[in-house]
C-alpha cells in the first residue's frame, strides 16, 4: 500500500552483502582496462609510444584514438564533442589518452606505466576570465555533431570563442524597474566546483555477442548510453544492450555516458569482454559539478515586493559539454526563486576551460543560482529593514500562479511550507544571540524532465507480478516505491510484486532516472500499466461469466461479476487453460493530457538551519536542520525523509566543506582525504524532516517527486545563518573555518559578541 513506510525490497540483499553492483560483475574471459591519463591540461599530442606497454607481461592491447578506425569516436548526448580517447590534443589534466588492456588489473596498470606520450603545450585556461580573454587559445574549434536535437534550452556558441553555451531569459521592463525602484541591492557570489562522490566509482563491462554489444555499467540512464554506443558502432538500437544493476549512488553524476565507450571499444578491438573501472581519482577526472560566479541585482518596493531581478551567471563548465548546457539552462530557470516578479532578466554563460568536464549533480544548477538569489534576498531584507520571512511571504508565488511565464502554475502551497520551516526553527527576527544564527531558504525547480516513460506489468498464473521499467535503482528506493504503486493498483500484497529495472533489451523505454522524476512519471506509467492489465482481466471475467465488461469489477486480487468471483490467478489459468500464460499491461506516459504543460511538477525546496560559530577558530556547526518535503502524497514516507535528509546533508557538504581546488593546471585534492564530505560527527543535533501531503501533484495519488529539493536552498540558508551569527555577509562557499574566521576578523570581536 502507498502512504506507508514499507521495508525496502532491496534492504535484505544490501545488509547481507548479497546485493550486486556493476563493480561486482565478472564475465568469463574478461580483460581489464587501465587508463593512461593526460599529464597536461592543454596540449597537442606529438606522439604516443605504446611499445613498452605491449611488451609488458599480460598486456593484450594498448588502445589510442588511432586504433578506432571507422568508428564514430565521440559521444555526448547534446553535443558529441567528447572523444572516447584524446584525438590529437588533450583539453584537461586527467583526460583519457590510452587504454591499456590486460589479463588482470595489475598487468594493465604496469603496462600503462610504460606508455610514453609526448606533448606540445598550449596555453592553459583554468578560469572563465582567462578563457574569455581577448585572443585566448581556443579549446574547441571543431564543428561537432549534435546529439539530442530536441534540446533548445541553451544555444551552443561553439566556434566563436571559449564561450560554450549561452542561455537567456527575460520578461518585463527590467531597466525601467531598476531606474525607478526605491531599493536596489546587489550581491556577488561564488559557488565551488563539486564532486558528487557516488561511492561506487564509474565502471563498465562490455562484450560483443554475435555482433550485439552488451554493456553492464553504472549508468543512471541506460537508454541514453545505448544511443551513444549505437552511434559509435553504427549499430541499430536493438543490437545494443545496456544494463544497470543496483548503483552505488548516483546523485546525477552517473547521468549520461561515461566509461561505457572505453569498455566497448576495448571489447571491439580485443574480441573479449573488457572491464574498465575508475578509482575515486579517476571518477573525479571524469566529471564534476559546475562552479559558478553569479552577480545578482534586485529592485524592491518599500514593502519588500520584488520589482525586478537581474542575474549574470558564469559557469566554469570544463573541457567538454557533457550535460553542461542543460545544467546551465536549469540554473537560469531556477536562480530567481519561486517568486512572482514582474521584471526578470537572466544571462547565463557556460565557458570552456581546461578543467574536468562538468555534468549533472543533484540540483542541476539550482544550488548555484539559489545561493545568489536567496542570499541577495536576505541582504535586501536587512537593508530595507524587513523580516526576511516577511519578504518571502510577500513574494512567494501562490498556488496556481506562474512565476515562469509559459510554464505550469505552482502546484504547491509555498507560504504554508515556509511557515512550517519557520515554526520548526522558532524563527524570531529580532532575536540576536552571539555567534549563533538562523537562516532559511526557498526554491522551486522545474523537475521531472521531459515526460516520456513506459512500463510493463506482467501478471502470472500463480498470482505473482513482475513490473518492468527502465528506471534505475540507485538508492533512492524506486524499486520499492514502484512496487508499492503496483500493489495498490492491483490490490495485492507487496510481496507478490517484483520490480525488474534498467535493461534496454528487456525493460521498456525510460528517458532518464533523474530530475526527481521516477515516482511521478515512472509511477504513472506503472499505474497505467496496472490498469491496462486489470481491464484485460475484466474482459476475461466477462467472457468467463458471460456478462458485459461493465458488470465485472477487479479489486483486492479478485475479478468479481454477477455470478461470483475468481482470483487473478484463476482468471489467467481459465483463459489460457492450465497453469500457463500471462496477462501483460502496458503503461505509457508522454507529453499529453495532465502532462502537456511543462514542467511535470515543481520540486519544492524549503529548509532552515541554526548555526553556531566557534569564536576562536571560526568553525561553523549546524545545530538544527529543518527540511520540508512537499511531495503531494508520500508513497513511502520513510524514503521521502531519507531523500530529504540525504539531499540536505549533501547540501551541507557544499556549504561547509566541499570544494575541488585547482592550483595551476591540476586538481590538488582529487581524493577523499583532501576533499572532505560530511561524516557521522557532522550530523546536526536536531533534525526535523517534515512531509507535506496536499495531493497536488500529477503523479499517482497526487504524488510529486523528491530528491533534489532539500539540497537546493541549503547553501543560502547556511550562509545567511553564518552572517547573522558573525555580522558579516559571506559571498562564497564552502564556509570553511578559515573563511569564516577571516570574515570575523573584519569586525571587532565586541561587535560579534553583541
Amino acid at each position: 500500500m502507498t502512504g506507508m513506510s514499507e521495508e525496502r525490497v532491496d534492504a535484505h540483499a544490501k545488509v547481507t552483502g548479497k546485493a550486486l553492483y556493476a563493480l561486482d560483475l565478472t564475465v568469463s574471459g574478461m580483460l581489464h582496462g587501465h587508463l593512461v591519463r593526460s599529464t597536461r591540461a592543454h596540449a597537442t599530442i606529438r606522439s604516443i609510444d605504446v611499445a613498452a606497454a605491449l611488451a609488458t607481461e599480460g598486456v593484450v592491447a594498448a588502445i589510442t584514438a588511432d586504433d578506432l578506425g571507422d568508428l564514430f569516436a565521440r559521444y555526448g548526448h547534446i553535443v558529441a564533442d567528447h572523444p572516447i580517447l584524446a584525438i590529437d590534443k588533450v583539453r584537461y589534466y586527467g583526460e583519457p589518452v590510452v587504454l591499456v588492456v590486460a589479463d588482470n588489473p595489475y598487468a594493465a596498470a604496469d603496462g600503462a606505466s610504460h606508455v610514453r606520450v609526448r606533448y606540445a603545450d598550449l596555453p592553459v585556461m583554468i578560469n572563465p576570465e582567462d578563457a574569455l580573454a581577448e585572443g585566448a587559445e581556443r579549446i574547441h574549434s571543431e564543428d561537432y555533431e549534435y546529439g539530442d536535437r530536441s534540446f533548445e534550452e541553451a544555444q551552443s556558441t561553439l566556434g566563436d570563442s571559449n564561450l560554450a553555451h549561452v542561455a537567456d531569459l527575460e520578461w518585463g521592463d527590467v531597466d525601467g524597474a531598476f531606474a525607478s525602484a526605491p531599493h536596489v541591492v546587489e550581491s556577488n557570489v561564488t559557488y565551488p566546483m563539486l564532486y558528487a562522490y557516488a561511492m561506487e566509482p564509474y565502471n563498465a563491462v562490455a562484450w560483443f555477442d554475435e555482433g550485439e554489444l552488451e554493456v553492464v555499467s553504472t549508468a543512471q540512464h541506460p537508454f541514453q548510453v545505448r544511443s551513444d554506443l549505437a552511434r559509435i558502432f553504427s549499430l541499430p538500437l536493438n543490437q545494443v544492450r545496456v544494463r544497470s544493476p543496483l548503483l552505488g549512488g548516483g546523485y546525477g553524476s552517473k547521468s549520461y555516458t561515461k566509461v561505457e565507450p572505453l569498455a566497448a571499444v576495448a571489447a571491439w578491438i580485443t574480441g573479449r569482454p573488457v572491464k574498465v573501472a575508475t578509482d575515486v581519482d579517476g571518477a573525479i577526472h571524469t566529471t564534476r559539478a559546475d562552479g559558478a560566479t553569479i552577480r545578482v541585482r534586485s529592485a524592491f518596493a518599500d514593502d519588500g515586493a520584488i520589482l525586478a531581478r537581474d542575474f549574470d551567471i558564469t559557469f566554469n563548465t570544463g573541457a567538454y559539454a557533457d550535460n553542461g548546457p542543460l545544467v546551465l539552462a536549469k540554473a537560469v530557470n531556477r536562480c530567481y526563486g519561486p517568486y512572482l516578479i514582474p521584471n526578470v532578466r537572466v544571462r547565463g554563460r557556460a565557458v570552456f576551460t581546461n578543467t574536468v568536464p562538468t555534468s549533472s549533480y543533484r540540483g542541476f544548477g539550482a544550488p548555484q543560482g539559489n545561493l545568489a538569489g536567496e542570499l541577495n534576498l536576505d541582504q535586501a531584507a536587512e537593508k530595507i529593514g524587513i523580516d526576511p520571512a516577511e519578504i518571502r511571504r510577500r513574494n512567494l508565488v501562490p498556488p496556481g500562479g506562474r512565476h515562469l511565464p509559459g510554464k505550469r502554475g505552482m502546484d504547491a502551497d509555498l507560504v504554508g511550507d515556509l511557515e512550517l520551516v519557520l515554526d520548526a526553527l522558532g524563527w524570531k527576527q529580532d532575536q540576536k544571540l552571539p555567534l549563533r544564527g538562523t537562516g532559511f531558504g526557498c526554491s522551486a525547480s522545474d523537475a521531472g524532465a521531459f515526460p516520456v516513460s513506459t512500463a510493463t506489468v506482467r501478471l502470472f498464473p500463480d498470482g505473482s507480478v513482475t513490473v518492468l521499467t527502465g528506471s534505475t535503482e540507485m538508492g533512492q528506493g524506486s524499486r520499492t516505491a514502484l512496487a508499492q504503486i503496483a500493489a495498490r493498483e492491483l490490490g495485492i500484497k507487496l510481496d507478490r510484486v517484483r520490480v525488474v529495472q534498467s535493461d534496454t533489451a528487456a525493460t521498456p523505454y525510460e528517458r532518464t532516472t533523474g530530475a526527481s522524476r521516477t515516482t511521478t512519471l515512472t509511477g504513472l506509467a506503472v499505474q497505467r500499466a496496472c490498469r491496462d492489465a486489470l481491464r484485460k482481466l475484466e474482459e476475461i471475467g466477462a467472457e468467463k461469466m458471460d456478462c458485459t465488461i461493465e458488470e465485472v469489477k477487479t479489486a483486492d486480487g479478485v475479478v468479481a461479476g454477477p455470478q461470483g468471483e475468481l482470483g487473478y490467478d484463476e482468471a489467467i489459468q481459465w483463459w489460457f487453460g492450465g497453469v500457463q500464460g500471462e496477462i501483460t499491461g502496458v503503461g505509457v506516459v508522454r507529453r499529453a493530457g495532465d502532462l502537456k504543460e511543462l514542467p511535470p511538477f515543481w520540486e519544492i525546496g524549503m529548509v532552515g538551519v541554526t548555526v553556531t560559530v566557534d569564536r576562536d577558530t571560526g568553525r561553523p556547526t549546524v545545530e538544527h536542520l529543518v527540511t520540508v518535503g512537499d511531495v503531494g502524497h508520500a508513497i513511502n514516507p520513510a524514503m521521502v525523509e531519507g531523500q530529504d535528509l540525504g539531499a540536505a546533508t549533501q547540501g551541507l557538504g557544499a556549504a561547509l566543506f566541499e570544494e575541488l581546488i585547482y592550483d595551476g593546471p591540476q586538481l590538488v585534492n582529487p581524493n577523499l582525504v583532501d576533499y572532505r564530505v560530511p561524516r557521522t560527527t557532522d550530523v546536526p543535533k536536531r533534525i526535523d524532516t517534515i512531509i507535506v501531503e496536499n495531493a497536488d501533484g500529477v503523479g499517482p495519488y497526487g504524488a510529486k517527486g523528491s530528491g533534489e529539493g532539500s539540497l537546493n536552498p541549503i547553501g543560502g540558508a547556511v550562509a545567511s545563518a553564518v552572517a547573522r551569527a558573525i555580522g558579516v555577509w559571506p559571498n562564497e562557499l564552502p564556509l570553511t573555518p578559515e573563511r569564516v574566521w577571516r570574515l570575523m576578523q573584519t569586525r571587532q570581536v565586541s561587535d560579534i559578541d553583541s
Binding site: R8, E200, G248, M639, G642, Q650, L672, V683
Partner: protein
Amino acid sequence: MTSPISIKVTINGRATSHHVPPRMILAEFLRDQLGLTGTKISCEIQVCGACTVLVDGKPISSCTYLAADIDGREVMTIEGVAEGDSLHPIQQAFVDHNALQCGFCTPGFVMATLALLAENQNPTEDDVAHYLEGNICRCTGYRPIIKAVIDAADRMGTS
C-alpha cells in the same frame, strides 16, 4: 612480478589456504579470488570504510591491507554475519531504521558496528558517531544509521 605467497586463513569460520600475489590487497583477494563481493572498494585510502572487515575481531580497511598479511589470522566479512536467512540484530536494525539507500557503504557500516558493539555494549549517540567516523555514507545523512546502531545495541543487550 614476484612469486605468489602461500597463506592459511580462516574466513567466516572456514579454514582455507591460498596463493596470493605479494601486492594483492585483502579487498581484492576477498572479492576477486573468493567471490566475496559484499566487501566494497571505494576511496582506496582508508577513509570511507566501505571495505571494512574484521581481522581477529578488529575492524580494518581491507583496501590498505595486504592479502599476504592475513596468514594465520581469522577474517570475518559481511557474508559471515547473518546466520542463514536470519539477519543479525545489527542488520535487522539497519533494515528497520531505513539506514541504507544505495547500500554500497552498508556492509562496511555493519562490520564496524559489530566491532563497536563488541567493545561497548551501551554506546551513546556521540559514541556511535565517533566510532563510525571512519565510515562514509553519501545517501542517508547518517541519522538513521546512528539510530539503528543504538537500537541494535538494545536488541543485543536484551537478547
